[in-house]
């Protein structure tokens, strides 16, 4: 996997990055062993490990993971694009912003699970409803971030490009878009997690496969190990997504002055 090489330049680097995770796991196992945590509710790493093996060997792991992954990736894609586009539209029209900004903040606060009946009604029980749910959650995060970025732009630069005779569209593409990239990336970084949650919530609403399906199934059967296995997989997907995004970030923001000086702050 090429990007992994790019992201984690070497094993040591990877070691540092995962150390927090490893400590967490060790602590968890330890806490269970000495009786601080009751494995009946929290399970324990070794238990999860065996369950993961079983999950994998039954061929079900990849099946459920791939379903959720597909939903989340499409959701991330559509949600990010929609978030950027809407932020740009509202960012350039005071009046539209006045109408829609409160609407969007208001809508964001609605618990999506409460919309399950309507969602199922409109989008059915297929993959579409999960992608839409995932995209919806991503949309909000990317929107808020991008919209903030548009307000924060350096006006002198915009002026200079306008003076060169750039059309409003060119100004957006040549100035606003690159200038808001750091903001968009911050939004997408939040969106990574949101895309997974959206897929999971969509699966809670109604699904025949996926990690969300597995979690809600396993929960009702008190299969804590399996719930934890799924959470572990989601966690790893999040970490990997983050690694990929970091690579993107490095490429897209290579123009930025390095953040670290010779001396510590």
């Amino acid at each position: 996997m090429k990007w992994l090489n790019l992201t984690f330049t070497n094993a040591k680097e990877l070691g540092i990055r995962l150390s927090g995770f490893v400590i967490l796991i060790l602590f968890w196992e330890f806490a269970v062993r000495i009786g601080w945590l009751n494995p009946f509710y929290t399970s324990q790493p070794t238990g999860v490990y065996y369950d993961l093996i079983e999950f994998y060997e039954s061929g079900q792991l990849w099946r459920h993971t791939s379903v959720t992954l597909k939903e989340a990736l499409w959701g991330l894609f559509f949600g990010s694009v929609a978030g950027i586009v809407v932020a740009f539209i509202l960012g350039f029209s005071q009046n539209l912003a006045k109408v829609f900004e409160p609407l969007i903040t208001g809508l964001y606060g609605i618990p999506k699970l409460a919309l399950a009946p309507i969602f199922v009604l409109w989008f059915g029980l297929g993959i579409e409803s999960k992608i839409i749910m995932s995209a919806l959650l991503v949309f909000f995060l990317v929107f808020f971030s991008t919209y903030g970025g548009i307000q924060d732009i350096d006006r002198n630069i915009v002026r200079s490009i306008r003076l060169m005779g750039a059309t409003p569209f060119q100004i957006k593409v040549k100035v606003y878009l690159p200038a808001t990239v750091p903001w968009i990336l911050a939004g997408i970084k939040g969106g990574l997690g949101a895309s997974l949650i959206g897929a999971i919530v969509g699966e809670y609403m109604g699904a025949s496969a996926g990690l969300g399906w597995m979690i809600s199934y396993a929960t009702s059967f008190f299969q804590v190990e399996r719930v934890m296995s799924c959470i572990f997989i989601l966690f790893m997907i999040g970490v990997i997504f983050n690694g990929i995004l970091k690579t993107f970030e490095r490429v897209l923001l290579k123009w930025r002055a390095p953040t670290d000086f010779d001396q510590p702050l």
Partner: protein, 268 residues
Amino acid sequence: MKNTLQNKMVFQVEGLHHSFFTKKKEETKVLEGIDFKVFENEFVAIVGPSGCGKSTILNLMSGLLRPTEGSVRLRDKEMDTVHSSIGYIAQSDTLLPWRTVRKNVEVGLEIRGIDKTTRKQKSIELIKKAELEGFEDAYPHELSGGMRKRVDIIKVLAVEPEIIFMDEPFASLDVFTREILQKYVLKVWSEDRRTIVFITHDLTEAITLADRIFILSQRPAKLKSTHCIDLERPRDPEELKFNPRFIELYEGIWKDLKSEVEMQVKEA
């Protein structure tokens, strides 16, 4: 002023007033009744105390700001928006930080839809002129202050605008680099009949380059006086310094400026 009368008028500035308002609605009067004309193929310099309103005049003339009162007319049409026939080298740094030097120089050409090879050719040529070879692929944050300013200048010159506004373009350059660019600007101006409005704090520079010099008073600025520079063209910056007419002009303008300052001091 030799050519001004037979030449066509490019800008007509009439009764220009401008005020800025803070968010608390406090007024800062900046311009108080400015009138002047700029003719085709003229090189005009604007000189005045720091903070008097020079940049504001250029912003009004370029259509970036709308005057509180009075009017700016470009070739007999009221300025109501920016015009791409004007190239404006602003006082502040306006490089796009995410573009390399070459890409920054090309941005105006891109906007005009010039094709890639022409763009590249043009930008490489200008980068050479500005003595920036070797930094084509550097990002703005990797340049020195003077280098950044040079990129800013050639970025605007790249699109070959008919009218060029320059706001203290050479202030941060050493004498030699400055001379090279002054010469280049003069060449561009004389060969292609451009019209140039130029802000500077350097009287020598103003006299060397301009046809006319407008002296502004302290804020709120009025047009204090206009000096016509009747030195022969082409002018060589280096020789000019020893030209008696130059020295005469210099002293005249100097006194003019000084009296303004002294008046100010007296008032206070």
